[in-house]
């Protein structure tokens, strides 16, 4: 029953999206207004079909409908309800279904938001593009990656293994993938409007204004999704890190980098009418990279701890990626003349000059991450040997890039548009620069060493001073209202980024670790902390056996790093226990994979003392708040005579 309903839902999505794309395109070309006004109806049908498919899948997981292959693989009667919900995106087919529902909701959102302008060609073409993308994912989900494919006959009493144990031992599993997908898929909206602008020739700034908030919120979702992934890794995997430069992590980071470049350079186009081709290219790159990333990590061509089992969708994804790139570049080439920028950047020492530099750095960063991610593939193709490119490579190259970005974050907010005089710079950068020196002085006073982290603290303080100066000036003028709007909300986002950069610099540079063997009742001192092995406790459920080593930390509180044995999978998963503090975390994990015996006379612990980790999550929260404030209208309307951009010759109407 679930399978039939689910398949029906996906078929509805597939038919509505493909018919919607075709009918709307024909209506635009034929100038059939009546048919054009019906375009949003297809979006409503798509949402209905996708919701039906997802409800069917959730019901199948909830009722353990083992007639479905997917449920046989990830369902289990022992999985708690919350993780049962998350089981949908714990394997390839369900993750594509998640993509389908999120894309359906965005398509419905666009149709609803622009319902009064449904006979506007720009909106109609944007809907066509969204329907085409929807058709592709519905086709993949209905065909090669069907989550409702029938399973083999199972004996009576059969129970599935449930999701991967790592995906059922932390609440963040519920939020991290959906938020990440909201980010990935959300960029389809500005991409669709960009393509629509190219098709209609309305390549001025109108389409940018229509999609500014969609792009910003998608970027916000992607940011928070990535950070929650780091938090999950820290709390679950037991190696005490938040980011491993794994190919799947890189696949999420690549569109974030190009998306970040876009939300900066788009300001230059809105203000000066410049960088039109560049902005279109960044949006196309952002969308295409989400598809390429999905191909790289879902096709099995690159090994990743996150990757799902190789499916049959690699050809589909690669083909779609190729079509997206070719069609987009073809359209840019076709509109080449209309895209020519009417203005010029007068000086590198200007706001737009700084944005341009920022874009070059972000583009270089994205290139490095992409190169490092696909390099093992290139080596295999050209040299027929295997190689791995890991964190040390990415760390080495990302460190100088991070420092340059911090410097640009310090200087750009104080630069005026067009040109900055030396006096202006001297005046506006004075206190921010002292903030940087102050941050460096504090770091040196508390014992920080080595040049790279010291530069990070210096530039972090400098950038925080510049953002703080901007916020201070805005709140002086407008009170708390000064925090709202693109520029000032953006400064709050900068402060969040700075907190994260400084926290990463501190935790990566000054983490200390040790392997401690502690006898029962023995008290061991290390790195200014005391550890006493109190005993072993256990927790037995139908799903898993949890064996915990109880450790009294600093004579205050017992922490319990554990080894959990998931009975269905027969897999042991070590789970860390963390004491979180404002200045540092103490991270405890049992060494090895084997749970300690209940009467063990000693326990072997890996202990990490990690400075400033809490500030990563605080920085993420500040970024989220800043993104929301950026998306709110600031209430300052632009005067019609203010120069925003020059008119584009030809094709500009409506």
């Amino acid at each position: 029953m679930s399978a039939a309903l689910g398949n029906a839902g996906l078929l509805i999505v597939l038919v509505a999206a493909s018919v919607g794309a075709l009918a709307t395109a024909v209506a635009i070309i034929g100038g059939n207004l009546r048919a054009l006004r019906q375009a949003p109806i297809y979006a409503a049908v798509i949402v209905g079909g996708a919701v039906l498919a997802v409800i069917s899948m959730q019901w199948a997981l909830f009722s353990r409908d083992y007639s479905i292959d997917f449920v046989q693989r990830v369902g289990s009667s022992t999985t708690p309800t919350l993780y049962n919900i998350a089981a949908m995106w714990s394997a390839l087919e369900g993750s594509i279904l998640l993509w389908v529902i999120v894309l359906a909701l965005f398509t419905g959102g666009v149709a609803l938001r622009f319902v009064r302008r449904r006979d506007d060609e720009l909106v109609a073409w944007a809907l066509v593009v969204m329907y085409v993308v929807m058709t592709f994912f519905a086709l993949v989900s209905f065909g090669p990656a069907s989550p409702f494919a029938p399973g083999a006959t199972v004996p009576i009493g059969f129970d599935g293994p449930g999701p991967n144990p790592l995906l059922q031992n932390h609440i963040l599993v519920l939020f991290h993938p959906p938020l990440l997908y909201l980010g990935y898929v959300g960029f389809t909206v500005p991409f669709a409007f960009a393509i629509a602008a190219l098709i209609t020739g309305r390549v001025g700034e109108g389409w940018l204004l229509e999609t500014r908030r969609w792009a910003l919120l998608s970027w916000g979702f992607l940011t928070i999704g990535i950070l929650l992934g780091g938090w999950w890794s820290y709390e679950v995997l037991g190696w005490s890190g938040v980011w491993a430069w794994d190919p799947v992590e890189n696949a999420s980071f690549l569109p974030w980098l190009t998306g970040t470049a876009y939300i900066h350079s788009v300001l230059v186009q809105q203000r000066r009418g410049m960088l039109r081709v560049w902005n279109l290219s960044l949006l196309i790159a952002t969308f295409a990279l989400t598809i390429l990333g999905t191909f790289l990590t879902r096709s099995g061509v690159i090994n990743s701890v996150h990757a799902f089992a190789a499916g049959e969708i690699d050809g589909y994804l690669l083909g779609f990626f190729g079509i997206v790139v070719l069609v987009s570049l073809g359209l840019i080439g076709w509109r080449g003349d209309a895209l020519r920028a009417p203005g010029r950047i007068d000086s590198p020492m200007s706001r737009e000059g700084a944005f341009l530099a920022n874009n070059v750095v972000f583009a270089l960063f994205a290139f490095i991450v992409l190169l490092g991610t696909v390099f093992p593939l290139l080596v295999e193709v050209f040299q027929d040997r295997q190689t791995v490119v890991g964190a040390p490579y990415f760390d080495r190259l990302s460190m100088p890039i991070g420092l340059v970005l911090l410097f640009l974050m310090a200087v750009a907010p104080v630069l005026p548009w067009r040109r900055a005089s030396t006096e202006t710079l001297r005046d506006r950068l004075f206190w921010p620069a002292w903030c940087g020196v102050g941050a460096l002085a504090i770091a040196v006073a508390v014992g920080a060493d080595r040049l790279a982290p010291l530069l990070a603290f210096l530039l972090g303080g400098f950038a925080a001073g510049a953002a703080g100066r901007q916020l201070l000036l805005a709140t002086r003028r407008q009170g708390l209202r000064g925090l709202v709007g693109r520029a000032n909300g953006g400064m709050l986002v900068h402060i969040g980024v700075i907190l994260i950069a400084v926290a990463l610099a501190a935790s990566n540079s000054y983490t200390h670790s040790a392997t401690l063997t502690i006898g029962r009742g023995e008290r061991v001192e290390w790195a200014g902390h005391s550890f006493e092995f109190v005993g072993v406790s256990t927790e037995v459920t139908a799903r898993a056996d949890v064996v915990m080593a109880d450790v009294l930390l600093d004579d205050k509180k017992v922490y319990a790093p554990a080894v959990t044995t998931y009975l269905q999978q027969g897999m042991t998963v070590p789970t860390p226990s963390v004491r979180t503090g404002l200045t540092s975390d103490v991270y405890l994990t049992i060494d090895g994979n084997d749970p300690p015996a209940t009467d063990a006379s000693e326990v072997v612990l890996r202990v990490f003392v990690k400075p400033m980790v809490l500030w990563l999550w605080i920085g993420g929260a500040v970024m989220a708040i800043g993104t929301v404030l950026s998306a709110l209208p600031s209430g300052r309307s632009r005067r019609p005579t203010d120069p925003t951009s020059a008119l584009v010759s030809g094709g500009q109407h409506g």
Binding site: L237, G238, W239, G241, A244, D246, P247, N303, S304, V305, R344, I345, D346, P348, G353, L356, V360, A363, L364, F367, I368, L371, G372, F375, L378, V379, R385, T387, V388, V389, G390, A391, P392, Y393, R426, D427, F430, A433, G436, V437, L440, A441, V444, G447, A448, D449, R450, L451, L454, L455, T511, H512, S513, A514, T515, N593, R639, P640, T641, D642
Partner: protein, 165 residues
Amino acid sequence: MTSRSRWKAWPSWAAMFVVLVALLAVGSTRDSGPLNPGDRIDSISRRVACPVCDGESVFESRNPASEAIRAEIRASVYDGTATDNEILASIANSYGGKVLLVPSSSGFDALIWALPAAGLMVGLVGLWFAFRRWREEAAALGPPSTEDYSLVEQARQARSEHVCE
């Protein structure tokens, strides 16, 4: 010059620069002693790939193969005779060069280091050409004409009327 802007004059910047250099010199040259053995084991194991896992380092992985390599690194570190690079070379000798997570800087692998440098150069040269073109375009326009001034004046008037409304 107001007293406020006097504060921000060049001597204050020079003083700031001196303080900055002094702090960086103190911080970056202070001797914080050798790494403790645990930190050194972590540092080396981060540079070695787990030979049987999917893209994890020995530092991250809990696989028995990784545990074995970590034990080897631990023994070498506590032995105290080999440098980090010697320990890495010995592991590469035992398990093959593909376990090293930092690509070498010779042969085909050198591309992974050279291409980012080339990308940086392309970006910088591109910026230089773009700004040169814009400067030349601006110079070719010549000084503003009377017509330009009257256009600006009209815009200013329209703007002040809009503000008054």
